[in-house]
């Protein structure tokens, strides 16, 4: 129904005068660089299979891993990180608690 009204399957017009400056611009500037902008889509419409909805299997977009969306993690607290920081922290804790005990006695 909207198809006749919306078939903007045409590519955005590249004018001849545009070519030179645009090329020069793109040589130094890419995606997310200054003056970058959202591009025209080459086709007007598409279905779920051609989007990231396809991998969701019915999950809500952005639900995160616990909700069936593997693109986002919502459970990432880690209790088992062993690094220099952990060791130093535990040493300090031992010292502090000893000091604390001493004061309370």
């Amino acid at each position: 129904m909207s198809s006749s009204a919306a078939a903007s399957s045409s590519k955005p017009a590249e004018t001849k005068t545009a070519e030179k400056p645009k090329e020069a611009r793109q040589a130094q500037l890419g995606v997310l660089e200054e003056d970058d902008e959202f591009e025209e889509f080459p086709v007007a419409d598409w279905d779920d299979a051609q989007t990231d909805l396809a991998h969701l299997g019915g999950a809500a977009p952005g639900a995160a891993k616990s909700g069936g969306d593997k693109l986002w993690e919502d459970n990432w607290d880690d209790d088992d990180i062993e690094d220099e920081f952990s060791v130093q922290l535990r040493n300090e804790l031992t010292k502090t608690s000893k000091g604390g005990d001493a004061m309370e006695h």
């Binding site: 017009a13 004018t15 200054e34 977009p61």
Partner: protein
């Protein structure tokens, strides 16, 4: 065989009779092959030399056809400013026809507005290179906004043939113009008109290209206004409905969606980062730092990327995300303290110092803990007298993703 002007007129006439919008769009596009043919055929066309073609087909199409030749000629002679002026005139003539007709004309409208915008871009660029003033993009925005009204005000066409099927595409184009000239406050009027018109079909019924572009810009506007919940919602839908082959557009959406989701406690997965190396380059160090509570690493990442983040308007958002990293650090104090409920303030102070935050006083550490509690990152209270943090026995560090209003206290 090269096309001559009378064939061009005949083809326009045929497209009109057949109500063939895409074909009409093709005929009016300066980059179509017949554009060159016509320019060659006329040598140096001017309004005067073409005037005698007036009346050769139904108005305003005789004049539109003449405009088309003038536009192609200016483009061929590298005069984008002139081409833009003539294209503005073409759009104005087209509008006369457009408001009397139904939605089948939309492909042609979209196409000529796109060309108008491209020419404005070229004209302003050309002027800039020659150190001249040029405000074509501002003018283009005005014309596109007018076309939006012409779509909105269709009161006669049957619903499925309405010009209203053009509103979201045209708004997207208007936003693109306003963003380009950095006058985004001017988009407010258009959005108000859209929001106040219940009789346009819901956005989901429009082609996906219209939906995604519209949601991207609404998401960006909300982001810039610090309406984070709305920004996240719109950008999420924009991302998931975007064509996966439009990789760069997906990256543009994610550049703002990722930091917003980080603030919510949803970290981008490795899979997502692998798909978008340009984004991993920006965000991966922050994500890694948040995971391990590595506050020094977080600060280093902020420092190294400061200029880039400012350019992308993202510095403020990532500075806010530092609290998530701090929460991770304090959580590690709790883990190291065997998840006890009473932890001396000095431990939190100490953790900050060990992690490389050198000149931090105990009072400041207390203040940071208090802030964490106030914002719901930690559950418990501080006994100032005893210099002790008393944590809730259950769930003292709620999962970040579980906070009810994650953006409320940001």
């Amino acid at each position: 065989m090269p096309m001559d002007f009378s064939t061009f007129l005949t083809q326009i006439n045929d497209a009109l009779n057949a109500e063939n919008g895409p074909n009409l769009a093709y005929l009016l596009r300066p980059t179509s092959p017949h554009g060159k043919d016509l320019v060659k055929g006329f040598r140096s066309p001017t309004p005067a030399t073409l005037a005698h073609f007036k009346g050769s087909i139904m108005s305003p199409w005789d004049e539109i056809a003449i405009q088309y030749v003038l536009i192609c000629s200016h483009i061929a002679r590298l005069r984008p400013g002139e081409a833009f002026k003539e294209q503005s005139q073409l759009v104005s003539l087209f509008s006369r026809f457009f408001i009397e007709n139904r939605g089948w004309t939309l492909p042609a409208l979209f196409s000529i507005l796109r060309d108008l915008r491209d020419l404005a871009h070229d004209a302003d660029w050309h002027a800039k290179v020659h150190s001249e003033q040029s405000e074509c993009m501002v003018e283009a925005a005005r014309i596109v906004a007018k076309a939006f009204s012409n779509c909105m005000t269709d009161r006669n066409s049957p619903p499925d043939e309405s010009r209203k099927w053009g509103v979201y595409y045209v708004v997207g184009l208007a936003m693109k113009c306003y963003f380009k000239v950095r006058r985004i406050s001017l988009t407010k009027n258009i959005i108000k008109v859209l929001d106040n018109n219940a009789d346009i079909p819901s956005l989901e019924m429009y082609p996906r290209s219209h939906q995604v572009t519209y949601r991207y810009y609404i998401g960006m506007l909300s982001f810039l206004n610090e309406e984070y919940a709305k920004a996240e919602q719109e950008l999420t839908l924009a991302f998931y409905h975007c064509h996966i082959a439009a990789h760069e557009n997906q990256a543009r959406i994610l550049a703002y969606l990722i930091p917003l989701r980080i603030l919510r406690g949803h970290l981008p997965s490795d899979e997502l980062m692998h798909r978008f190396p340009i984004l991993a380059d920006i965000f991966a160090p922050f994500v890694a730092a948040i995971r391990t509570g590595d506050i020094a690493g977080f600060d280093r990442a902020l420092e190294q990327r400061e200029a880039r983040l400012i350019e992308l308007n993202l510095l403020l958002t990532l500075e806010k995300a530092r609290e998530l990293c701090l929460r991770g650090l304090f959580r590690r104090v709790w883990v190291a303290s065997a998840k006890g409920t009473r932890i001396p303030l000095s431990m939190f102070h100490c953790a900050l110092r060990i992690s490389g935050i050198k000149d931090v006083e105990l009072e400041e550490a207390e203040c940071l803990v208090a802030n964490m509690v106030y914002k719901g990152f930690m559950r418990g209270y501080i006994s100032h007298e005893k210099q002790m943090v008393v944590l809730a026995a259950t769930n003292p560090f709620p999962r970040l993703a579980d906070r009810a209003a994650p953006f409320a206290l940001m």
